[in-house]
Every structure is written in C-alpha cells, then in structure tokens.
Symmetry: C2
Subunit: 231 residues, 2 copies
DNA sequence: CGGTATCCCCCGCGATACTG
DNA sequence: CAGTATCGCGGGGGATACCG
C-alpha cells in the first residue's frame, strides 16, 4: 500500500492494518492459529501468495514473529506489539457487530468458516471423556460440503472434511445459515433446537449437554443496534 | 473495496475501515472538522473526488450524516455509530505511536499538517484576550510554505497561508521537523526552546505563556516503545 | 465553497500451477 | 506442509480540469 505521506501515528498504523485481509489474518493469529495452513483455513478466499506476503509484511512491522515449532515446523505468533493490537481488532469487531447491518448472503454462509471457528472453541471439559465424533450435516449444501466431522480425542480436536471412518456419536443436522446465525448469537441455540432448525441424534446425555460445550463466538453476546435482516 | 465474502463482523467492519484514507477522514471528523474543505485540509493529498466518494460511503454505512449548517452550508458529523468508532480509531493511533518506528521523511514533515492540527487545539482561555497574531516561520521550507499565520480573534482562530496584514504579536521561528517532533511529544517544547530549535520573538509575557496555550497532540503523552530515529 | 467529470495508469490482487 | 512462480485483469485512485 502506498504511504499516506503523513507522520501521524494513525496514518502509519493504517498503512499496515488498512491493507486488504490483514485484520482477518490477525484475527486468526489472535485466535491461536500458528501454522500457515491453519491461518489459511480462516481466510480460505485469500490466495497463498498473498497470505505469505502479508505474513512477511507483518513480521517486518514487528507485529508477528516466525518460530520453529515442533518437528521444525514453521509457526507464527504475535509479538508484544501484536498482542497489544488485539484489543483494537476486538474493538473493531465489536463495533461491527453493534452497528453494521447483518444480512447473510449465500457466499457468506460458508459453513466451513463457522466450523473452523467453532471446533476450536469447544469446551472440552464439559464434553464426555474419551473419543467423541460429531457429524454436522448442512441440508442446504451440495455434496462436497454436505457433511463435516469433528473428532475429539486425546490428541485434541480435529475438523474433518471427509468421513474419518469412526463411528459417529452425535449427528447434528442443520443448515449453513442457521449455524451462522447461532454462532454469532442472532438466534439462541435453545430456540434453534426448539424450532427444529437444529436437530440432534444420538445418546440422550450427549444431546442434553450439547448446548453446554458448544460455545459460541466471543461476539455472540454483543447486541446489535440494527436488527439482523434476510433470515 | 471487494467484499471478503465473510459474515464475520470484523470482516464487515474491515470492508469499511480498511479502505484507503477512511481512518484519516474519520480522524478529521472526530477532531471536529465538519466542512468538506476543512476535512480536506487534514488529508491534503487525497483527491476531492475520492474524499467525496468516501463521505458518501460513510454516510451509506450510517457512520456520518450530512447536515445543512449555517448559511445552508453542507456539514458532516458523526452519527452515534460513528461516535462509537472513535475509541477504536484512537486505540489504533495509540498503538501506532507505541509500536511503529518513527522516522521523519521530508514529505511527512509537511508543516501545514501540523499547523492545521495545532491551530484548532490552542488553549484560548490561556491566551491573552483580544486579537493575537502569531507568525510561524519554517527555516527549511521554500517560499510558498515558509510562513504561516495564526490569527486569534473574537470570531475564533484562523490559520492563514498568506500574510493576513495584521501586525504580528509573536514570531515563532523553527523548522518543519522540529515542530512535528514537538507536536507528537518526541521532543519537549521546553527542550526545543532551550536548545534554540524553536525561538520566540515578541512581548515577554506572550513568550513566557507560550508553552501553556500551545497544546500538543493528544498522542504526545503516549510513550514510544521504539525510540524515534532520523532526527 | 463544495463538490463533478474525465482520463489513464499502475499495481494489487485473484487464479492457477507448481516445488523443496 | 509451507510456501513460490507466473500471468493477466480490473478497478482503485492519482491528477487535473471544470461546474453550480
């Protein structure tokens, strides 16, 4: 991005934060994504070339750092400067939820976006111990995105794009718009279940505790000043 | 700007705030600039076409509103949504001051940028009553920008690009880099005066009270985590 | 004063393919 | 897994002139 030619700290900051995709990349890092491919799953429409470019830029600006993680894999993490940016990004997100009209178009209702966020926010302590496999079905989606699996095991939680082969413990059936509205707090999970917009199939205990370990977006509690439209 | 295709409130907010020049335009509005030309003086390198376009966009997004002011002049102001954006913008500015390297190139040391900010932050109550004319001289600037005048009168404060004709009460002689560093708090005004980087010529009383009514940037008090370079 | 109209350039970005 | 390489285009925005 071309410089503003101003010494003003806001101008300098905007040259970095104002670049396309950068706030969303930072969001992924702030949610704990460390690996290139993990970051990319949060911004799937960003080309790898551009993501690499942004990561280099953020590193040069002292906002993130590259590390060698386990198995000498490349990992990215926030520097102290980057960490102090988190409240600003969060403030922007809260403002967006408060004040921007929320209409949900088809492309914005990509269930993978929600599933990616959702699977790393599960409250593992409230889930049953041992391996748990949950299959999410999205009735409005064509075959390639029709089903997603969350596998919770001792190693951690994984989101699978294709059938992992394990026996499914809980079947969740919904559609991409419902899961999106629920995730962002525009419909309560309770209401979605009551209305049948989300249905559960599996052991009674798992069904009953479902709302306790399926955590919603951190923004779910932020009220909207404009009512959501286009449900 | 092309949509991110995400429903995430951060993505939606970034589509607006992330557009080129938009944060700086908002900054002007937050500092109280209401008229088109007043806004433009804070972002002089932005073309009028683009400014008009951004103002329209911000209005459509519900962030600013157009009003008819005195003499049916067009005025812009923040809506409640816009007002709630102020802390976010301010947070970004504070972060920039804290963490971004501050090197001052020639184009960034435009004294007009500082004078425009500075003239609307004068503490009028601490200035002598009645008309006061101050001429700022920038020793490093070629003729068209060599001098600027601030005229404080009953009607308010005005920044003049050419000699307004009144007798000058106080002559301030400095250079564009010094005034910029001082404005942003990287050199104390006291030190700049002591070192002769700023010299005053005028009545003793006006000289003595100068540091009390020449207020600095709101960011002046924010410490830098990286030391400023290229003084 | 408060903007439009117009033109054109350039480069940011998207898409796709490929590699150590 | 973690990125490069390459190409082509679209349109954002810079510059300048002009208008009500």
């Amino acid at each position: 991005m071309k410089s503003y030619g101003q010494f003003c700290p806001l101008a300098l900051a905007s040259e970095i934060i104002g670049e396309r995709w950068t706030p969303l990349v930072l969001r992924e890092l702030m949610f704990g994504a460390a690996r290139f491919n993990a970051i990319q799953r949060g911004v799937p429409r960003m080309s790898p070339t551009l993501l690499a470019q942004r990561l280099r830029m953020l590193q040069a600006a002292g906002i993130i750092e590259r590390r060698r993680g386990e198995h000498s894999a490349t990992e990215y993490g926030l520097t102290p400067a980057g960490a102090e940016l988190a409240p600003v990004i969060e403030g922007l997100a809260v403002w967006g939820k408060s004040w921007l009209p929320a209409s949900l178009s088809a492309t914005e209702a990509d269930p993978d976006l929600i599933m990616w966020d959702l699977h790393r926010r599960l409250d593992l302590d409230r889930m049953p111990p041992g391996r748990t496999v949950i299959r999410f079905g999205f009735s409005d989606q064509p075959p390639p995105k029709r089903y997603r699996w969350i596998v919770r095991a001792a190693e951690g939680v994984q989101l699978c794009i294709s059938d992992p082969g394990f026996e499914v413990d809980l079947f969740v059936e919904t559609d991409s718009r419902t899961i999106t509205w629920v995730w962002y707090g525009d419909i309560s999970l309770k209401k979605a279940l009551a209305e049948g917009a989300i249905t559960l199939d599996g052991p009674r205990r798992l069904r009953a505790t479902f709302p306790s370990w399926l955590l919603l977006s951190p923004l779910a509690a932020v009220p909207r000043n404009l009512p959501p439209t286009a449900r």
